[in-house]
Amino acid sequence: MRHVEVIIVGAGPAGLSAAIAAAEAGAEVLVIDEYPQLGGQIYAQTPEAFCLDAALATSEQHQAEKLLKKARSLAIEFLLETIVWGIFDGRQLSTLTKSKTIGEFWAKTLILAPGAYERSVPFPGWTLPGVMTAGGLQKMLKLQWVLPGKSYLLVGTGPLQLVLASQLIENGANVIGIADASSWRNSWKYIPRMLTEPKILFQGLKYLFDIYKARVPFLKSHAIIGVEGDGRVEGAITSDVDEKWHPISGTERIWKVDTVCVGYGFVSSAELAALAGCRIIYEPTLNSWIPDHDGNMRTSVSSVYVAGDGAGSGGAVVAVHEGYIAGVNAAVELGYYKEYKTHPAASSYRRLQCLSKFREVMDRLWAFKPGLYDIVKDDTLICRCEEVTYGDVKEAIADGAEHVNQLKAMTRAGMGLCQGRFCEVNIAYLLQAATGVELQKYTVRPPVKPLPIEHVIAEFEIKSS
């Protein structure tokens, strides 16, 4: 097993920034990521074989380029196309490379920057081809330059919908409408706090102006309640929702559309932190489970740090500064940065402090409300992988299930290929609504991503011979 001073899981904005901070201090740094290219999701680069016209690159791609250049200029080792499928004894990592070889690493300090995935709320027909996450469509558009449908309906909540709408319009796609479940009533009181970040605010207004200019209907307090189609999406039904996001009957609208993009914000990817033994807490403002951490990005387990969306969704800018703080603190722990006048991460601490006000406004403006679960019908799939319906879940609850782990054992929800990533929060909410128990989390066990068993077995054979 190889010992490394700093191992970082995730090569997105947080992971790269952490790597830069630790490498600048002189530490030995290894970054592991599942993707073939650096950048993670938001800072993802177009494929190497593609040649993007520099004028057409988004501001994010320019920011990403700066960070990538810096990371490449330092002595950082990258292990790409490699999955970290297990963490044992706190900081021992088990990996699987693309060529299907198992690797083992011991991290003197470990920084987890796994990012987040999109929150999905089940609705009738949400498994039909043509329903995809907003992030998934954005990647298809931004990195692959492919428009998968003829018309687009954007539903959900959060700033990503606005960004995506603007990008779709810019690329000539037919966006027929945007339904945002959140209400902007009384949002004027947030204006002073929003003015603390004029650049971000201006960017947001630009997206809104693009939508207005293209005359795309932008409906607030409006949500999707179902899609229909034979084998693929052919139409969608939306309806007004009240303050708690309960759909209001009689306000339905029918749309003829072939692609529906859903996104209700982000849920932190906390499974690796859970495997490392970190305390995982429920963060109500984000409606997500996150690894508990302090201002220095330290978790409850010694020498394990978290950063970026994986530590609580906050976007790329926040991720960059959290990553830098985590990297500097890991380096300090290892004995680098012995003497300094001003803390090496001082500017990141300051910047995060400034951003916190804006972040709070964003979290409030687009806070998820569980009233939307009214749209889940008995035959609606809750767990897409194992095809478990709400009816199955209700039956298990009637049979006495009081914990999500019991529901998992009784119905198989959460046992499929995605390992509960897309059903966990929903099952927890539905169980809470039915029984009044508090929100719970599945127990996380390795492997956190499916791995072909023959490769694990082969590895053991080599060892025993």
Binding site: Y35, M140, A214, G231, R384
Partner: protein, 114 residues
């Protein structure tokens, strides 16, 4: 006031230069793609939205999360099952089988045994 013309583009959009054109196979038929494209992008660009059928209810599924988390887009590539189309770049001569082919095979088998 100038009214904005709404175009209804679908498939590949011109944005820059793609990689060299390559040929691969989907369910036994020849398809074209460009180096750098993922299998998912190549299938969607050709209007193929159904990637597989769910194992229990045999319901169609396609690309969902697009970032390797949900495993909805799994197809069989060069005989290896359960490969994520969104994470796999297309290669020259690659053989991709969607779940639709699996169904027709299965139905054929059922017909024989009946």
């Amino acid at each position: 006031m100038k009214t904005r013309k709404i175009r209804t583009l679908q498939g590949r959009i011109p944005k820059g230069e793609r990689g060299p054109k390559i040929q691969f196979e989907v369910d036994g038929k020849i398809h074209f793609s460009y180096r750098g494209e993922t299998v998912a992008a190549a299938l969607l660009a050709d209007g193929k939205q159904i990637f597989r059928l769910s194992p229990k209810k045999q319901e169609p599924r396609g690309l969902y999360c697009g970032m390797g988390s949900c495993f909805e887009c799994i197809v069989t590539i060069n005989g290896v099952p359960n490969v994520r189309a969104c994470m796999t770049p297309v290669e020259e001569g690659m053989r991709v089988e969607t779940g639709m082919k699996a169904r027709s095979k299965l139905q054929g088998k059922n017909d024989e045994t009946c």
